[in-house]
């Protein structure tokens, strides 16, 4: 874990309210694993006061660049996405537990890996697909990306380029299948050739992904976000309900969880 002031190399609007920030952070880029996040703040300001947790979409270990996908969702992230190129950002990271790689999961090595993304949740899955591409034993990657409209399929080319098959669903039918991405997942699971499902997106989507994967008997890992304080497991702010009672820390126990660890009922209710 490092706390370091870095240069924002570029900050590009890629969809309404969505920006890709490229940051020069060689040490964090080299240490970063798929699914981990950085905790970003703007130095020498108190507005916003707290850091914001942001998933790493790509870590270019050669050039030392991090690419973060940021959705302007409130006052803090609105200020962050307005930063110009050349600005300083303070990063704490890499933080959290990464996605387990397919070879660490007992799901059958001859089968496919399914990635299910919803909206801004695509970011850590791009990073995961990128890492799986460089494995000696690269799995067959079937990716699915859902959003409300075509506009919100942010950075879809990044995921498509790293997948063997790529499907899209939009709620208004403006791109791909009309409907929810979980309907596409249902078709994929029916084929009975899935080794593991990785999901990241809205809570309701992930809950459905987890339920369907469990029903199909396929291991499932989801990446969560939550309002966060310290980012290192100390303050217990970023709690989500744990299966069997109590809470898990998104920053330290997660952000990636085995779907069986999570109390999905509590997450739907929040």
């Amino acid at each position: 874990m490092l706390s370091t002031e870095c240069e924002l190399l570029s900050n590009q609007l890629v969809a309404p309210d969505h920006y890709v920030m490229q940051i020069l952070a060689p040490e964090i880029a080299r240490a970063s694993l798929p699914g981990q996040f950085v905790h970003l703040r703007i130095p020498r300001t108190m507005d916003p006061l707290l850091r914001r947790p942001l998933s790493v979409m790509l870590a270019d270990k050669v050039h030392g660049h991090l690419r973060l996908l940021v959705r302007a969702a409130g006052r803090g992230t609105e200020i962050i996405v307005a930063l110009p190129s050349g600005a300083s950002v303070d990063l704490l990271g890499p933080l959290g537990s990464p996605f387990p790689m397919p070879d660490e999961i007992d799901g059958g090595s001859d089968k496919d890996v399914l990635l299910v993304a919803g909206g801004v949740g695509v970011a850590p899955l791009v990073c995961l697909a990128d890492a799986m591409r460089s494995l000696d034993d690269t799995p067959y990657i079937r990716s699915m990306f859902g959003a409300s409209t075509e506009d919100m399929l942010v950075c879809w080319t990044e995921l498509a380029a790293r997948s063997d098959e790529f499907s899209v669903a939009t709620e208004d039918g403006s791109a791909g299948e009309e409907g929810l991405i979980t309907e596409v997942l249902a078709g994929q699971l029916e084929r009975g050739h899935a080794r593991v499902v990785y999901g990241c997106g809205p809570a309701a989507m992930m809950a459905e992904v987890a339920r369907m994967s469990a029903e199909a008997g396929v291991p499932c890992y989801c990446s969560f976000e939550q309002r966060m304080g310290c980012g290192v497991g100390a303050c217990l702010s970023c709690a989500i309900g744990a299966a069997g009672g109590g809470y898990l820390r998104v920053c330290k126990d997660g952000p990636v969880f085995n779907a069986e660890q999570v109390d999905w009922e509590a997450i739907r209710d929040e």
Binding site: D47, R227, V232, G233, C235, Y247, A266
Partner: protein, 306 residues
């Protein structure tokens, strides 16, 4: 170094801390979470997350929300219980050589006495901080808003331990000096102030409270003027050390508290913003003393009172 190193040590009852910069309970976990980024051994003390007799799961999320120059939290005293903390956390933290202060939270006098007994017996803690001011659990502030109950609680714990006792006061009272005097008269060796201010924020889109617990404790720079005022008022009526806290982000903020009457400071919300806040503020205090010809930090404690 051209100037002599100033004396930053602070006495709290029988305890002498190497310097006045400690962490505020609940903002630094058990210290271990920060061990690979912060040199814990440089801190004056680590005040650990509040311990209760039995484990507590904490409040339903969301538990934190940023507000103007501050944040609200409603963690709900989540902790694995005193026995687990003593067995699983303290031995490792003790290995860093930093004084450990245990923050105790109970529902009744007997809870506090039992907790004090357990932590005193474990041999790892240098002092006890009585948390009579948590706004985020039912009854958490009950002791801290009533002078008689404060006195009974402090007196009961005082009777069973020789460890230095610190009482952490709530700002959510009409007159904080009454509670302060009650705690000191009953045997508290020091006062820690302030705990968070009871606050609330509403999600206007969902038309519901933002925190799962509805209300929470406000901390950060937004509360600093309130905290400095509390220290200023209490300094006039007690003769024990005050540990000032409330939105300290940098050395100037720490100096404000010291000049208002605090002998030590506790860093809270700033740890989330900058994990090195405590050690940077310590460096800043050394610089300030050297630049201003101060040989002993106690020379400026309460200096603003004239």
């Amino acid at each position: 170094m051209s100037e002599a190193c100033p004396d930053l040590s602070v006495r709290i009852g029988s305890l002498v801390l190497p310097n006045p910069v400690m962490t505020a309970s609940g903002t630094f976990g058990y210290g271990l979470e920060y061990a690979d980024i912060c040199d814990l051994s440089r801190l004056g003390a680590v005040v650990i997350k509040a311990a209760t007799v039995a484990p507590r799961v904490g409040n339903r999320p969301p538990r934190i929300v940023e507000t103007a120059a501050g944040m609200l939290n409603a963690i709900g005293l989540q902790n694995p219980g005193a026995d687990a903390i003593i067995a699983e956390k303290l031995p490792e933290l003790a290995g860093f050589g930093v004084p450990i202060i245990a923050n105790l939270a109970g529902e009744c006098v007997d809870d506090y006495v039992l907790l004090a007994d357990k932590f005193a017996a474990c041999g790892h803690v240098a002092a006890l901080e009585l948390n009579i001011s948590c706004p985020n659990v039912e009854g958490g502030m009950a002791f801290g808003v009533c002078p008689e109950m404060t006195a009974e609680l402090v007196g009961s714990v005082r009777a069973i331990t020789d460890l230095p006792l610190i009482t952490k006061l709530s700002p959510n009272v009409t007159d904080i000096t009454e509670i302060a005097v009650a705690a000191v008269t009953a045997g508290s060796d020091a006062l820690s102030m302030i705990n968070t201010l009871l606050g609330m924020s509403i999600d206007v889109r969902r038309r519901r409270p933002l925190l799962g617990n509805a209300t929470g404790g406000l901390s950060g720079p937004a509360i600093r003027p309130v905290a400095v005022r509390c220290v200023w008022q209490v300094y006039d009526v007690v003769d024990v050390p005050i540990i000032g806290s409330g939105g300290i982000m940098c050395v100037e903020d720490a100096l404000e508290f010291i000049m208002a009457g605090a002998s030590a400071v506790a860093i809270g919300t700033a740890n989330f913003v900058n994990p090195l806040a405590g050690t940077e503020i310590l460096d800043g205090l050394v610089d300030y003393c050297q630049s201003n010809g101060i040989k002993d930090i106690s020379e400026i404690v309460g200096v603003a009172h004239g």
